[in-house]
């Protein structure tokens, strides 16, 4: 009998198999439905306060971008941090693990949304990302009473960003002007001083670099079109993207890049581009052909900002560090090393003591005339942010 089973009958094995497959499918569907992603924001602060251990733990975990602090002559020590330890007794674990705003966000967002410790007491992110984190309720309120230097010396231009009114949650580490740079050898000795020229000059065809940072590239384009990035509308933004797209379709633009434009500009593969001022001071030191221009229409000034994540364990120590770096003397040492615009007022004399030429460099201490041309991109709502980034992403080919 056993050998005589027609294949179509349901026997124990097929039944089990079918049952198993059914259970598996049902289980898979159930687990699919059960996933979901929690809202990232907890503005009510339900998961907010973790205890501050600063009083008995003299440590601080500080995550920053690469090459964003002074390095001693031995190539490994960080003199300003060493002096901070000597004066406050706080041991700083300094990690250069932020390379990209969105990547860093991707790395820590799950934990911060769930209210888990990310092992960092102080982080440094660009203004729009700082704005997003503050909006999501992920940044601690800082206590100005703990930071007299920072409170007094914060330069006027940095005092009231629309994404953190009154600087309640953040203090800037550096200011980052986005201007136009060109390699004189590659342009045949000609100057490039406007976004219009970048986008339209046929002699630059295929050798123009733009930044993949949406607010810098779109912001400069808006300024060039006579619009203010401070109060950009969706229509104005679309017009700017369309203008950029037309240039792209003509083959004018070589690439949208992050920091890696510096190598291309240095070699002359990119003849002219939008560039970050801090990089330019370095590039100019190595290559006399690198020039920059502040467009008449204005330039974008963004900032990288120190935030204390809401799950930090050492807020008081973080405030000590912020306050320490807002002493003009220390800020001058930092600015002399990294060559970015310093957000600390009253820096010039101290910087002149270190290097007279740096103190006169308007890429580090902007002149009044230059400051008047600075613009910032207004902060966007979550929906706008997504729509603007999607349009810009399409522009860059992905």
């Amino acid at each position: 009998m056993e050998r005589y089973q027609p294949r179509t009958t349901v026997n124990r094995r097929t039944l089990l198999r079918a049952g198993g497959a059914g259970a598996l499918a049902a289980g898979a569907l159930a687990s699919l439905a059960g996933c979901g992603i929690q809202p990232a924001g907890r503005p009510d602060g339900a998961l907010g306060a973790s205890e501050d251990r600063s009083a008995h733990e003299r440590t601080l975990a500080f995550s920053n971008w690469t090459e964003y602090i002074d390095i001693g002559s031995d190539g490994t020590s960080r003199p300003t941090l060493d002096d901070f330890r000597r004066s406050t007794g706080v041991e700083v674990t300094y990690t250069e693990d932020i390379n990209d705003n969105v990547e860093f966000f991707g790395k820590v967002s799950k934990q911060l949304a769930a209210g888990q410790d990310i092992g960092r007491d102080l982080i440094c992110v660009t203004d729009w990302m700082a704005g997003r984190m503050i909006r999501l309720g992920w940044a601690r309120r800082l206590d100005a009473a703990h930071m007299p230097n920072a409170y007094a010396n914060l330069a006027p231009g940095f005092r009231a960003p629309d994404w953190d009114p009154g600087r309640v949650h953040s203090y800037p580490w550096t200011g980052i002007p986005a201007v136009i740079a060109y390699n004189r050898k590659a342009t045949g000795g000609r100057t490039v001083d406007s976004v219009s020229q970048l986008l339209d000059d046929p002699r630059l065809k295929g050798r123009v670099g733009l930044l993949s940072e949406m607010r810098d590239t779109a912001g400069l384009t808006l300024l060039d079109m006579g619009k203010r990035p401070e109060d950009v509308t969706a229509e104005e933004y679309d017009a700017a993207v369309t203008r950029l797209r037309r240039a792209r379709d003509r083959g004018q633009i070589r690439r949208f890049t992050g920091n890696d434009y510096t190598g291309d500009l240095n070699k002359g593969d990119i003849a002219a581009c939008i560039a970050w001022a801090g990089d330019l001071v370095q590039l100019q030191a190595d290559n006399a052909d690198i020039r920059y221009a502040i467009p008449d229409a204005g330039y974008m000034l963004s900032s990288d900002n120190l935030l204390v994540p809401r799950t930090a364990r050492h807020q008081r120590n973080a405030e000590r560090l912020i306050d320490y770096y807002y002493q003009p003397k220390i800020a001058a040492r930092l600015a002399a090393a990294i060559n970015y615009v310093s957000p600390v007022a009253g820096l010039r004399d101290e910087l002149a003591k270190i290097d007279k030429r740096l103190a006169d460099n308007s890429l580090i201490i902007p002149s009044e005339a230059m400051l008047a041309k600075a613009h910032a991109f207004r902060s966007l709502t979550a929906a706008e942010d997504k729509a603007f980034e999607a349009a810009f992403s399409e522009l860059t080919g992905a």
Binding site: A28, S31, L32, A33, G34, C35, G36, I37, Q38, P39, A40, G41, V102, E103, F105, G106, R135, L136, K205, G206, R207, R248, G251, I253, R254, R255, F256, D260, G263, D264, K267, G268, D269, A382, A383, K386, E389, A390, F392, S393, L395, T396, G397, A398
Partner: protein, 306 residues
């Protein structure tokens, strides 16, 4: 405690227990691998599958709404990048095979005592990071560099320009640069399996073919190549599959018109924060690769060899 006696219940006896234990050994051996796959493959896969049918935003969170339209939207919007990825990966795989087969053949049959040295040279690039190797190509192919100048003066660039794979007097930021980068980065994945299967071929088979009056070319066509098919199939798969999803080469060596599907997924996931679209794109990519690979293995008739 009264139940505990000195005399164990005898009837089943030690033999079946030991046999049962031995029967379980394969499962114990499988356990680490299965656990690993469950935690790091199956669970993320389920999570991504779920994400792809969710709707919502970062602020409000995402809920499973069985919004399958995401798949269709993603496909209609990004099919150019899909097609481009497949085309670039297929070209790079073909180039890898063309470059890798002779090299693997040489190492397996002709290298003699140099065999190990050559194998180390093949693997050597792995000692530096993928990113650094790709960045090096930016210097090699830079506009004013010797390679581009030589290609231009030999009028090779005129030909490639006419084919539409380069633009003007440059190679970087063109399809050619991306395909070259992919070919270079995945070449060892082609050579290693090819070498392994060529090396296993008994050299006496070649002598036998010669004795049967086969000319070298015929020997290769009728003996060597068919026997190396497992290596060819494994090599092409190991090259094609990761190359299709690669985004570093397109990011660094390409321009806006060379972005591949990996770049789109990265951008949707990190920049636009559209997790459902990113997840849907990943699944479409996975399904497409599975389908292509299945057809390929069937066609190449090597199910039992691989």
């Amino acid at each position: 405690m009264a139940l505990v006696t000195d005399q164990p219940p005898a009837p089943p006896a030690p033999l079946p227990t030991a046999a049962r234990g031995r029967k379980l050994i394969p499962y114990w051996l499988l356990l680490p691998g299965i656990l690993w796959l469950l935690v790091f493959f199956a669970a993320p896969l389920v999570y991504q599958a779920s994400t792809s049918v969710q709707t919502g935003s970062l602020e409000e969170g995402f809920d499973v709404t069985w919004h399958f339209a995401t798949y269709w939207d993603a496909l209609t919007e990004y099919y150019p990048q899909f097609l481009r990825s497949v085309a670039y990966a297929a070209t790079a795989t073909a180039l890898c095979l063309a470059l890798g087969y002779p090299l693997a053949y040489l190492i397996a049959f002709k290298a003699g005592r140099w065999r190990n040295v050559l194998m180390i040279l093949v693997i050597a690039p792995f000692f530096t990071s993928f990113l650094i190797r790709t960045l090096a190509w930016k210097t090699i192919l830079s506009d004013g560099g010797p390679v581009v100048s030589a290609l231009a003066s030999l009028h090779v660039l005129d030909v490639t320009n006419a084919l539409g794979v380069t633009e003007g007097h440059r190679v970087l930021a063109t399809p050619l640069a991306v395909v070259c980068g992919l070919t270079y980065n995945f070449l060892p994945f082609m050579i290693l399996p090819l070498y392994t299967s060529l090396e296993r071929i008994d050299a006496r088979l070649h002598e036998a073919a010669g004795d049967l009056y086969a000319r070298p070319l015929t020997t290769f066509r009728k003996v060597t190549f068919p026997l190396s098919m497992p290596g060819v199939v494994a090599g092409t798969l190991l090259t094609f599959i990761p190359a299709t999803g690669d985004y570093i080469n397109a990011e660094l060596l390409g321009s806006t018109d060379q972005k591949m599907i990996g770049n789109v997924i990265q951008s949707q996931f990190l920049r636009v924060l559209d997790y459902p679209t990113a997840a849907a794109l990943s699944f479409i990519l996975m399904a497409a690769i599975l389908a292509m690979v299945t057809v390929y293995i069937r066609k190449s008739g090597t199910e039992d060899l691989v």
